[in-house]
Symmetry: C2
Subunit: 644 residues, 2 copies
């Protein structure tokens, strides 16, 4: 058992409750402080941030390059139970992923030259396939994978830190969720300010990894680069099956997610942007390939084992440098780049959902730009869903990996087929070669996606295969709803004009006091046909209200109803039915007035019976009645100060 | 590491989301199914359930008697790190708690004879102390302890089961929360039906424990009752301090919580109820004392050690019976009785909070009886807070114990002092003896409470010492709020009568469509002074709406406002201010009409911009305006079926 900090969890809960309280009580100022001043709509177009390719590279590299930290480990974990003889397999498995990486990057370079304005899988599918399900397949897969990218990157980052400080190990879930909240807040503030700042940690992590590999190959470990302790190479362990090998390969392919980032973001490159993006792709592919191979060789040479409480990177660093300052620096750099990978998803996901919402496939609220011009609602959705995944899988990277990367490869496949269709249609320079390359990419991605789905099915991939069609179905339903709605709401301005009609106003009483006085004054000001309705739970209270109503001079008709089941809704509902039948059942002829207490201090709200809110919601949903809320603002504090 | 069920957690999350969805969509039928048909108010008085003392005993015993399962273990856990030499100390520590138990039961018998209608600490304090803080001290302490009783009993119950089935160990939090939800539902259905059913599991558990102790003393373990393997008696382990010993004693005293239950429930006894309650107290004290001493002796004789993954009861049973059917039966009986202990709290807590709410110390909604005549809101609060505790302390009984029992002993002290004051006031038969006994009880409880607070302060008792005054402060504030409110709302029926006045109606437009037509018809039916207001984010949309308004024949005045920050609230707020100043700033003179889409199917609600809801909330809180919601019920499904 690890040592634990027994107060961390309850303390975190108490602190977050206090923070929540404070945030609700001071919503506006807290929002300003955290999110920043609101920005005018026209500030959107000030994009002075065109980047030179060498700077754009690290800005866009975090997602792909950070996977180095968990990809090879995820692969070897699948077969680790077969013993030390499997250790050498990390090298050929990683080599296979690097070959796949090369093929995909070449395919993506084709995509960049075809869509210089940024072509995500959704845009390519929309441009090349008429049937909406194709782009829904691409976009739903991508949505799932964006959410998983956040969950996997953050839990891996926190696991690196927990490897360095085992005392944090029992708190990985809480810490991961705290990270998500921080990233969310940073992104709600707006990304544009920060884009180029994000280049440096990635660049630094790249340098760290290059240094690590160089050090490993030149200096070697405590027993040299390859010592007698290095496990044997080329021995096939007992019990190894093709299925297991494919499973290991598909888990290792989690290090390929994020390839698409550059092709989505071509417009941020300085002109000539296509050339810049292609250069960035080649450079990124080269360094990622070298790092993956070098890193996996070192893991094998040092005979590093899988340990759920100590990542392989942390073990390798430990074997070279102990727990020195160098170890600390590289672990923190890894953590930072993994957090940046999650952060980059907070740009991609809201853009995708906004595109889909624009086509009517998702709720329109995903199109609303927040105070800082980002798609805030998309960010909130992403943060909530990835936090749920982290909570559900207890922030264990290796439990999340089986769900991961299927979505990306499905989207890759759709995008590549779309490109092939495009080359066949548009033709242009070297269209035969281009369509061959993309066909090859499509087949490769499709095969990989199927291998993933089959080998990792029982490990968790089934969840993705259930959620994916559900998402597509939901999107179709949503679009249908919007289309029907638009038809229903259209009016003919020449013929359909507002009509004045008779309205019955029903005022619900809770007693005779200042609030009633206020509401009744309003009701009588607008309408002469006002009925006051009182619901009592016993005969005494009904008799009392009738007597006091007399005393008040019968300001309007009073109807009293007795409720045996202590429900307000049922007797009022029966009364409305009665009035409705008298009015001929036409909508917007019945008008209900409810009073609502509003204390000075928000907390005091819970001291008042929420029946007004409940009634309002119920009637709105279930009856064709119009509901007015007359607020009564209490000023207890004034009375208080008068008294003292 | 334990084996885990990797899908249990995500599966539980998915299932609960589905269940939530289903419950929201079919709220009424689900509620009927889970909670049962609503009951008439007059059914409350059919209490045909007066119980003979021998039946009432097990009904009321679950809380106290079930603590046997964790009390001795909680005590010895505090000093377990000192080695095997501490094992014998479990006997004298338990003996000390039994002596305390005897003293408290005698004190409580005095209480029963004084308050034959049921005298909880709150009622006794209210009857004997004029200052409200005394009864708030008692009731707040009891509230804290009720919540802890649920958390401790359930996590201990689940730990018993997890000891028997280690595969469940990683899921104790989820399982504990599931138990709370089930108990909550059972209690929302109503307790009266079930009271005597609950007697049997407790009775059965008592028989199990008596059988276990009998078996242990007669048959002995694999090496006899006291073998050469039994650790030595009377050897003081190195490092044992008085503080540690007191700490162990105070943790062991967690087995004394629940003594107060009988004295709160005297009215459920058949006449003569006081005699019945006294008999039940004597019988319960005797059997609890015997069980505690017998059980702790056996634990010592068998040399059972503390193991966080295997409770001492489970180990003892294992050493006698292996994992046989007998082991299973007793473990499940223990689980059941611990669940019943939590269940009994679901009667006590809501009664206490209802009493306090009746005096204005807590929100009035705690006084509302639910469909099944129980105080549903109190039950919901108890369930939510205990679930939070379980989540925060990861369902570890031994982490919760330091918070536990302080509250009970504070309440004991207040109640005993109250009784002393009563004897001094009322006198009556043997008043000197009675007041001596209760004084002794008061001093004893106070000393124990102080020992708890000091020895367990850093272990978690500080949380209670922070929350307790906060609760008392909160209750005082709430009562003040209610008092001021009543003063403010009182009106003079002869002098203050409703007055008709001028109202300006402002209709917020989102465009010109059927919804606008509907709302405008309503607005013009009630008032002739209607202004339509449109907020646009750009000039084009504003020009378009002005042109279409012309085409519509200018049904009323139109005002267009431009919002640069994409906010609806700010421009509307400025406009309201302008109208307000024209109207002389008097309240209830400005009337805002908002339209709200209401799709047939609830899920479709999230597809519509919630700005109407947002605006309504904001204006209600921040402005003296009256808000009307005109619902527009969509009927997409009809169009859909027409088309097909």
């Amino acid at each position: 058992m690890h040592k634990t900090l027994p107060f961390l969890d309850p303390l975190l809960i108490v602190l977050s409750l206090l923070a929540l309280w404070f945030a609700v009580a001071n919503f506006n100022s807290v929002k300003r402080f955290l999110v920043g001043r609101p920005m005018r709509s026209r500030e959107l177009n000030n994009n002075h941030t065109k980047l030179f390719w060498f700077i754009a590279l690290p800005v866009l590299a975090a997602d792909l390059y950070s996977s180095v930290a968990y990809g090879p480990e995820a692969g070897i974990t699948e077969i680790a139970q077969l013993g030390v003889d499997v250790k050498w397999l990390i090298v050929p498995i990683t080599l296979a992923t690097v070959i796949l990486l090369t093929a995909l990057i070449i395919s993506y370079i084709m995509g960049v030259s075809a869509y210089p304005n940024g072509g995500g899988a959704y845009a390519i599918a929309k441009d090349n396939f008429r049937a909406p399900w194709v782009r829904l397949l691409a976009s739903s897969s991508l949505m799932i994978d964006y959410i998983l990218t956040v969950a996997v990157s953050i839990s891996s980052g926190i696991q690196q830190i927990a490897s360095a400080y085992p005392i944090l190990a029992p708190h990985v879930v809480g810490l991961s969720i705290a990270c998500i909240i921080i990233i969310l807040l940073v992104n709600l503030r707006g990304v544009s300010e920060s884009a180029s700042v994000f280049a440096w940690p990635t660049l630094f992590f790249m340098l760290c990894m290059v240094f690590l590999i160089g050090y490993g190959f030149i200096e070697g470990g405590p027993h040299g680069l390859v010592s007698k302790y290095t496990p044997p190479f080329g021995v096939f362990p007992k019990g190894l099956t093709l299925l297991l090998l494919l499973k290991a390969f598909s888990s290792a392919c989690s290090s390929l997610t994020g390839i698409e980032t550059i092709s989505n973001s071509v417009p941020i490159f300085r002109e000539p942007r296509t050339r810049g993006a292609i250069k960035a792709y080649i450079a990124l592919g080269t360094i990622t390939g070298i790092t993956l191979i070098g890193f996996s060789c070192l893991l094998y040479f040092q005979g590093i084992s899988v340990n759920p409480n100590n990542t392989m990177l942390s073990q390798l660093l430990g074997s070279y440098f102990g727990h020195s300052i160098l170890y600390q620096i590289i672990i923190w750099a890894t953590f930072l780049v993994l957090i940046l990978a999650a952060n980059s998803t907070f740009t991609g996901f809201p853009q995708l959902t906004a595109l889909m919402a624009g086509d009517g496939f998702l709720p329109r609220s995903l199109l609303v730009r927040g105070d800082r011009l980002g798609y805030s609602n998309g960010m909130l959705v992403l943060a909530a869903l990835s936090a749920l995944l982290i909570e559900g899988f207890r922030a264990q990277t290796n439990s999340l990996i089986p769900l991961y990367a299927i979505g990306v490869f499905v989207a890759f496949t759709v995008a590549q087929i779309g490109l092939v269709k495009r080359w066949l249609r548009v033709r242009g320079k070297m269209w035969r070669l281009k369509s061959f390359i993309n066909s090859f990419g499509a087949v490769l991605s499709a095969v990989v996606a199927i291998v993933f789905a089959v080998t990792k099915f029982t490990g968790g991939a089934w969840i993705v295969l259930v959620v994916l069609p559900l998402l597509m179905f939901m999107a179709t339903k949503i679009r249908k709803h919007y289309t029907l709605l638009a038809d229903e709401l259209r009016i003919n301005l020449k013929e359909e004009r507002p009509i004045r009609h008779h309205v019955v106003t029903i005022l619900l009483l809770s007693g005779l006091h200042r609030v009633t006085l206020n509401s009744l004054s309003f009701a009588l000001s607008l309408n002469s046909d006002v009925i006051a309705v009182y619901v009592g739970f016993d005969d005494e209270s009904i008799a009392r209200i009738e007597k006091r109503w007399e005393e008040w001079g019968n300001p309007c008709r009073l109807v009293t109803l007795k409720s045996e089941y202590r429900s307000l809704i049922q007797p009022v509902q029966r009364f409305i039915k009665f009035v409705e039948s008298r009015e001929g059942g036409r909508p917007d002829h019945i008008h209900i007035i409810l009073s609502q207490f509003l204390p000075k201090r928000h907390w005091a709200q819970i001291l008042h019976n929420q029946s007004s809110l409940l009634l309002r919601t119920w009637f709105l949903w279930n009856k064709d009645v119009i509901i007015t809320t007359v607020p009564y603002h209490l000023n207890e504090s004034e009375i208080e100060s008068e008294k003292t």
